[in-house]
Amino acid sequence: MKKFLWALPLPLLILTAWSLAVELGLLTLIPAPLEVLLTVIDFTFGTLYDDAYSGTLLVHLAASAGRVLGGFFIAAALAVPLGILLARYAKVSLLIEPTLGMLRPIPVTAWVPLVLIVFGLGSHSAIILIFIGSFFPIFINTLLGVKRVPQRLIEAAQMLGTSEGEMLYKVILPAALPSVFAGMRIALGLAWVVVVVGETVGVPNGLGSVITEAREVSRTEVIITGMIFIGLAGLLTDKLLTDGLRKALGNRPLLPS
């Protein structure tokens, strides 16, 4: 509770400054905080304005979250095994790593036109973009995590009677886990960035489409409302992920020693 109180002054300061700036006419293109607050309430409960956005939060949030989690989990399901494979087998690495190395620097935004041409407008294109964006952080962190498992731990496991076949599950994965999870956290954060990009065209719902459409009709208060909910949703999924991981790990240390 004390920690929570410490977090309050900064947002209050920003809100006060923002409010004053609008009041004094310094900010003319941005609505006052109170107006945004009313829009937040209307967007969530739909009791104030009865317009196209009223009470639509859950629809948009569910659409965005579905795309984020879909793309993220597909990425994790492919990136983790591939990272392990490349770290463990030099031949596979020679075969695949140069190609991945060339694909990696291409920003997700550069993929948008191609993905839209090939897969067309719609939800699946957004999911594919999130997949592309989430894949590399998980892949790279898994690869490095597995490669950096200290040789000493492998020797220790060998002399305690661990066979080569058991080594992956008994030692390499547990040792690389903190790094894999770090990659997942980065990827999930990135997935919320990409979902906004992916929803700018061709989808009728999602928080990204809300702020894009609101710009076209100059509803600045709706844009800010959308931004607030994207922030909250990102925060919430990150918390769910880290809590879930912590539960899965018991109280083992998250940092490699």
């Binding site: 200290p150 000493r152 020797e155 060998q158 002399m159 305690l160 009677g161 030692v171 040792a175 240390p253």
Partner: protein
């Protein structure tokens, strides 16, 4: 640490007392690295026979191949010539009959103290209740009962090394291989652990090979000290230059004249191998 911890109900290494071939036998052991014209010869012609339960230290200047020799006995590296046998069985790969204690501990950071000690017995498919009993016993022997649920990063270096020792002892190894196990510890912790190591060794009687830089440590602990010399930097492969028996009763007095005579003899052998 409680003295009572060492009163063992059953002789632990029953297997190691059984009649049979000598504990550890090294014959003509050599090691070359590289290939073609870039060959370095790290070790040549090492001969050593250790009966079961003997405590031998390997000592010598850096690069003389003592750690390499230990790693060959452990099975981490293969000798390029000669044979190493443990209880008559040729060493080909690492195994739970040869427990290794590393200078940097090598504990599994995701397992608790108890989890680390249980690892070996669990790998050997020992039933859970028996594993629990083994863990209780060895955690107690190294004096860490109160820390059994701690993770390695929560422990001091000396405590981590105790865990590492308990972890290999829990496998009832025929041979205990220690590679400068106390090298990273402060001198007080080092002394305590040396004394406790002797007690554990007297109680369980594993065959021990200890690599050390410290002449005093070697004289304090061992039945015999094997002095090694040479190494790639000296233009000759690493080899055994002298073997000095230490006929002093435990516990040894490091200030006794006999102790110092042996130290002097060993220092001389290390620094003037030709004489």
């Amino acid at each position: 640490m409680a003295e009572g911890a060492f009163r063992l109900e059953t002789p632990p290494s029953e297997a190691s007392r059984r009649a049979g071939p000598a504990g550890v036998e090294l014959s003509g052991v050599g090691k070359k690295y590289g290939s073609g014209t870039r060959v370095t010869e790290a070790l040549r012609g090492v001969e050593l026979t250790m009966p079961d339960g003997e405590f031998v230290s390997l000592i010598g200047a850096s690069g003389c191949g003592k750690s390499t020799l230990l790693r060959i006995v452990a099975g981490f590296e293969r000798a390029t010539s000669g044979v190493v046998t443990v209880r008559g069985k040729e060493v080909a790969r690492p195994g739970p009959d040869r427990g290794v204690v590393f200078q940097d501990y090598g504990l599994f950071p995701w397992l608790t103290v108890a989890g680390n000690v249980a690892y070996g017995p669990t790998q050997r498919r020992i039933a859970k209740p028996d594993v629990d009993r083994i863990v209780d016993r060895f955690v107690k022997i190294v004096g860490l009962d109160r820390f059994r649920d701690c993770y390695p990063h929560q422990l001091s270096g000396g405590m981590q090394q105790r865990v590492a020792i308990a972890r290999v002892l829990a496998n009832d190894p025929a041979v205990l291989l220690m590679d400068e196990p106390f090298g990273a510890l402060d001198s007080l912790t080092r002394q305590t652990l040396q004394e406790e190591l002797i007690k554990v060794w007297q109680a369980l009687r594993p065959t021990v090979i200890l690599v050390t830089h410290s002449v005093e440590e070697a004289v304090f602990l061992s039945d015999r000290v094997v002095v090694m010399g040479g190494g790639p930097n000296h233009g000759v492969p690493g080899h055994v230059t002298k073997i000095v028996p230490i006929d002093l009763a435990h516990p040894r007095d490091v200030t006794a004249p006999a102790f110092n005579d042996l130290k002097r003899e060993l220092l001389d052998a290390i620094h003037h191998p030709a004489s």
